[in-house]
Symmetry: C2
Subunit: 355 residues, 2 copies
């Protein structure tokens, strides 16, 4: 029996979020935020909100928001789960599906929160190395013995889309566990595995309002799955916190979904800017996996990843640099507005000319 | 090794929140909500909010909100934790401090979420029976061997205040574990143990915006403790979800704290109405523990708890009834506005006359 309270503490190493610079005149391309504002309907929803409603608990089932998600994605309401950002959705999913004691699998180069959740919930895990070209090693995920699998598609920070055919192969090969496909970046040109939830009752598809809907500040994520899967997930969520989505955020989320044209227009603008950026990176001698997300993972033969990261930061341009053997030579650059990207490329051009 | 994904699911029995009736012409006294609106500054904060900020991640440390809490409660910022309602604060605390495998203690009649979190995180626990008069059995908590202790003060659903002297005795007797005092209802006339955090580094005091600040819809809770305790709690929180408090809720919380006079006035109105209600319950033959919260736990010799609950509900008056041997004869009645309480007592008078 432990004799001090401190010995009883569950000690963990937390996730490190990207820097949020306080200065205003920066080019911020480090946290995969959307460079455009949320849908104008969000502004109206906030202006019209009756603050007196806040005295009451919000609808714990967020039924209004789930109803609009149901209409938007043509998925029945009882196959949809919502949470405080997709991090909350994923944390609840790990807690619900991955704590059997059997090891789970995810790629070695991937969203750096997966191993943090594994630590938080004492889940054994094994990482599956990406191939040399940074693409997913599909066959290595098809062993059919894992306790759980989580794969982002497109993967982060590579931006690569594995394709629904390859992902279906993984899901089909692993009926013994839940397979989570984390589609945080899917709206920037990748194909969603959402239609597969009717075919595989062990498939959970997670998405978020943070990137394509420009709502990182609102903390809204969601997931689709079989009725059974969503029921289990909700049981664990209601055992953690009954009322997770506040009343105002429920309204704001509904408003954000009400304008599909705005949504498509902004996604397209980001996709176009990404393709324009690829060309310019290439012209400057960068190489990179062929991203289908709102960021590009770039590498240059003449400058180390860290050196470039620091040079950019010294000039008020923030990108994301990760430690670790396979990724340290790269920087993850979020796609900003054309003006922000011009600022980045103007600097890079001058900087590389002086090398 | 389990062979189906369903065998791997962590199956739990979730907490059942109080009913949220959809009809508008009801007297809702079932979820301990504040009958008055939030501070007027909250209205202005929402109206003035720049929706374009939502495209960016919120400040993960909620430093503005923590700063105002620091000023309001005269506690250094690094001794304050915030979460998505006090349920989130408590869930994170259970996960951080109570998962050593050693059994934890809480009263047998208490907030019904404690055993749910124990189930969620596989924490063994023992309940300590309240005394016959429903007061806390202080000595039974002073054994000095528990893996953790959680006690609400005032207790729910009894409303009884144990007093800081008795609570200090418990904290002092248990240096081997963290002791959580859940002060969700402390602003309605009980004394806070907050000053004791400087004396005992194993004491965590949790509070909420949901009751006394009329902000249940915003999902904001907070906790005070030693620097060390808060650091451990934050590590676990950042390993779960980096960005829990959305940008708008951070502003709304700050606004809510900006008007201490409004806060005191509303708390006093509820305290006065509670004392007036005690008299009227007594006149009608009810007995009850002497509540210091915003609810009264009432019992009547002539009507069973369930019968009264149903009769009230049939007349659009919602109170909370719990199952369980020691509580089934009672109903928990939240203190509403004078008009709402008049409606309740008009009904009760007629109903009991006809018995």
């Amino acid at each position: 029996m432990s004799s001090t309270w401190e010995e009883k503490v569950h000690k963990v190493t937390p996730y490190t979020p990207g820097e949020q610079p306080k200065a205003l005149d920066v080019i911020k391309l480090n946290t995969n935020e959307n460079p455009y504002p949320p849908a104008p309907a969000v502004k109206r929803a906030i202006a019209d909100f009756d603050y007196e409603l806040l005295r009451k608990y919000p609808d714990p089932t967020a039924s209004g928001l789930i109803g609009v998600l149901s209409d938007t994605y043509s998925v029945p309401a009882d196959q949809i789960f919502v949470g405080v950002g997709s991090d909350d959705v994923l944390a609840m999913s790990f807690l619900t599906f991955f704590t059997s004691g059997e090891g789970i699998l995810f790629p070695d180069v991937t969203y750096s929160f997966y191993d943090v959740w594994a630590g938080e919930f004492r889940i054994p895990y094994e990482t599956v190395p990406l191939k040399e070209d940074m693409s997913l090693d599909i066959d290595a995920f098809c062993r059919g013995t894992a306790g759980g699998i989580v794969i982002p598609n497109p993967n982060a920070p590579t931006g690569l889309d594995a394709g629904t055919g390859a992902l279906e192969k993984i899901i089909k090969s692993n009926p013994q566990c839940v397979v989570i496909i984390d589609e945080a970046y899917v709206d920037f040109g990748a194909e969603s595995v959402l239609p597969l939830i009717d075919k595989y009752d062990n498939l959970l598809v997670t998405q978020t309002f943070s990137k394509s809907r420009a709502m990182a500040g609102s903390r809204l994520g969601f997931a689709f799955g079989s009725k059974k899967l969503i029921k289990y997930l909700n049981d664990v969520k209601y055992s953690f916190n009954s009322y997770t989505i506040d009343a105002l955020t429920q309204k704001v989320g509904i408003a954000s979904l009400s304008d599909p044209d705005y949504f498509k227009m902004r996604c397209l603008a980001i996709i176009n800017e990404r393709e324009r950026s690829k060309k310019r990176f290439r012209e400057l001698g960068f190489d990179f996996p062929d991203s289908r997300s709102n960021f590009i993972f770039v590498h240059h033969n003449k400058v180390s990843g860290e050196e470039l990261f620091k040079a950019l930061r010294d000039n008020n341009i923030f990108v994301r640099h990760f430690e670790g053997e396979r990724v340290q030579d790269f920087n993850r650059v979020t796609i900003g507005t054309p003006e922000e990207m011009d600022g980045l490329f103007d600097f890079l051009k001058k900087y590389l000319e002086n090398k």
